[in-house]
């Protein structure tokens, strides 16, 4: 059931320069939210921001009834969000989209993330563990400074890192990591910059491994009404906000 309501900002954290982590809560239970789903935030008080901002769900703390959003500050809208303080209220439309494939007991899933695309993989990894699946993480970034929340990922499964400058893990892109030479996983879920996702999709097709990717086309409504965020698929143009954001790569015209 989708909701649109004012959530309370329980805490604001700054995990790295240029990033902000919002912890939101409510007096009522937040309800079921799937890893890979997203929210649309109304940005108040920013004269140049008119539309809501889609942000992936980073983590759901069911005990504290908290919804965590990891936000990369890239423009006016996200800058305005980074200035929120504990006690503020934020109007949120959630949960939106389909989410990643639910985990099955015993399956090994490789979660590949790049940049702020790592955000939804934390909640998805948590839900995979809960389902008895085994997640492992391959995370890429420009340098050590872009690698966030590694301890949180390590608590869920093995973490492999690549950085473009070699300051942490193996040097290069995620697709160059030695882990991929001897694949020991049943499927792959990816979220990150489009070139990275396309490279992983290509790898998965070559190795006949099932792969899903999370897209972030520009969107307005978030509900499948405005048809602005479409992606070309084998079934024609479909809304990333509703039929996605997660797609099996076989469905995409990549």
């Amino acid at each position: 059931m989708k909701q649109c309501k004012d959530l309370l900002v329980a805490a604001v954290e700054y995990p790295s320069p240029g990033y902000v982590l919002l912890r939101l809560t409510d007096t009522e239970p937040l309800g079921e939210i799937l890893g890979g789903q997203f929210v649309e935030i109304r940005v108040d008080g920013s004269p140049s921001t008119f539309l809501r901002r889609p942000i992936s769900v980073n983590y759901v703390d069911t005990q504290r009834n908290e919804l965590h959003l990891l936000i990369h500050v890239v423009g006016e809208g996200t800058r305005s969000l980074s200035q929120l303080r504990a006690g503020d209220r934020l109007n949120v439309l959630f949960p939106l989209g389909n989410g990643f494939t639910r985990g099955r007991a015993g399956e090994k899933v490789l979660l590949v993330g790049g940049g702020v695309g790592i955000a939804p993989l934390l909640e998805y990894g948590r839900q995979l563990c809960e389902a008895g699946a085994q997640p492992q993480f391959l995370l890429g970034g420009r340098s050590r400074d872009n690698m966030l929340m590694l301890d949180r990922f390590e608590a869920l499964g093995k973490v492999y890192v690549t950085t473009e400058d070699g300051s942490m893990g193996e040097q290069g892109f995620v697709t160059q990591h030695s882990l991929l030479q001897k694949p020991d996983f049943d499927r792959i879920s990816v979220c990150g910059p489009k070139p990275m996702m396309m490279a992983v999709a290509k790898y998965s097709k070559e190795h006949c491994i099932r792969c899903e990717v999370s897209l972030e086309n520009m969107m307005a409504c978030g509900l499948g009404a405005c048809l602005c965020c479409v992606e070309k698929t084998v079934k024609g143009n479909v809304c990333v906000c509703k039929q996605g954001p997660v797609f099996d790569v076989q469905e995409l015209n990549w």
């Binding site: 059931m1 989708k2 909701q3 649109c4 109304r42 140049s48 921001t49 008119f50 539309l51 809501r52 439309l93 086309n217 520009m218 969107m219 307005a220 409504c221 978030g222 509900l223 499948g224 009404a225 405005c226 048809l227 602005c228 965020c229 479409v230 992606e231 070309k232 024609g236 143009n237 509703k242």
Partner: protein
Amino acid sequence: MANISVNIAGLQMKTPVMTASGTFGYGLEFADLVNLEDIGAVIVKGTTLNPREGNDYPRMAETPQGMLNCVGLQNKGVDYFCQHIYPQIKDIRTNMIVNVSGSCPEDYAECAARINELDNIPAIELNISCPNVRQGGMAFGVTTEGASQVVKAVRKAYSKTLIVKLSPNVTSIADIARSVEDAGADAVSLINTLMGMSIDIERRKPRLSIKTGGLSGPAIRPVAVRCVYQVAKAVGIPVIGLGGIMTAEDAIEFFMAGASAIEIGTGNFIDPAISVKVADGISNWLDSHRCSDLKEIIGVIE
């Protein structure tokens, strides 16, 4: 409580607030978030005789107090609507209206004829003002002859309430309104989006796939109010006003300019329940200004 129910050319509405085509899907997408039966009328996505894939991505760009879109009437065609969508929406107890578009008068008429057969669709809104399709769409809405030709063709094929949606991208919107009234329209709605363009200066490229698109949102509201004022003075049929309405106060401007009802479009993206909140706000505004009926303020601007 002031009376805000209205009757637009036979269409009885609990509130004067309708949701604009292309911004509210088929209503179902918003069912978790707003009680659809509290909305005066829901105008569903533009429907054409044949399926349309619409334009390439990117189709949207945010602009100051608004947005540009070039969706291009993506829809699965009228037969799909009748077979698969209509059964899902026919029992929603409000006015479910279909927006109809086409590329020639015959297509418009055929599409309207098929919708005429659907018992629980009491009206259509004819889109002769879409700026995002090459053939047809706005081409009919920018000349009095073109507008008249399409409306006459549809009028022969369609027996229920016929609303015609007008484009602001014209020299005299009042002239177009008069021509569609003469051709048999029961009401007019205005304005559709204003043609616009936005450029990504770093990439030196337009921000929309087909370069230009339709501007909507609060940025266009003063243009819309002006158009409603001019058209309300020019025609005898009811005028439905739309363009950037976000609050009850915005809606009141349109009523004073001469609108008998309003539509909310882009506002649905910011607040999915805006159509009900604005209706409540209109009622409260009337109460606080000692008006017992919405009709007391319609067209009060001389």
